[in-house]
Amino acid sequence: MKENKKELSAREQIKQQEFQKEAVPHINALYNYALHLTMNPDDAEDLVQETYLKAYKFFDSFERGTNCKAWLFKILKNNYINKFRKNAREPGKVDYDLIKDFYHTIKDVQSDTTEAESDFFHSLLHEEVYQALQSLPEEFREVIQLCDMEGFTYEEIANMVESPIGTVRSRLYRGRKLLRAKLEEYARKHGYNTDTEE
């Protein structure tokens, strides 16, 4: 081996180690986010793959000490916009059959172990919660996903969706209000207020 190749390789190895420690552990979260955006496992895989390629290439620009997961999510979101946005469904137009099919393809992989302790929530099916979330206008759904499912702070979300923190806060408030109404609708169908069995 030539000397300069060895040097390059040593530097590259440090980068790789750091990347594997910081970025690779977020594959599952990114894949789930990609699935929710694309509703298609193949597209989601492509999106995650491209996100990691780009992230690795530009890893030097990742600000050390900040949230790497948030950085990766932002790359994925930008990729998604460039690649899929023009074919995406329009806000408000929800294909419930698509959601149902999609949900059935992914739901057997993993299930919950903990539940909210409330009859109201016990009456709801997983896919109904998903459907309720998907039925929200995108600007609301997005912030709820990023906040409640991924645990990002308002500041991180604001950076990802390129809006002020106040906007994130108000979208969360309004989105959750809509979501509650949807969930209550489903719960009523299950006879919420009567004894529901799990």
Partner: protein, 75 residues
């Protein structure tokens, strides 16, 4: 603080994103208002249900492997 204002603040409160002053005002109101206390509990549950009832899947093995390979170019 009235109930309307309290309801608006609840969303950010469950995320721990209120300012200190807002948090104080809200907890002062909640101490006096049983309706808002119950509303606050429901709001918390809504967050929990999204986190817990939406199924999370694992990334396919081949995807994980290809990403690990990507970072192993010299390995």
């Amino acid at each position: 603080m009235n109930c309307n204002k309290a309801t608006v603040l609840m969303s950010a409160a469950i995320d721990g994103e209120l300012t200190e002053k807002e948090a104080e005002e809200l907890s002062g109101h909640l101490a006096d208002c049983p309706e808002c206390r119950s509303e606050f509990q429901e709001a918390k549950n809504t967050k929990i249900i999204i986190r817990e009832r939406i199924v999370r899947v694992k990334a396919p093995r081949n995807l994980v492997e290809s990403i690990v390979r990507l970072t192993n170019v010299t390995g």
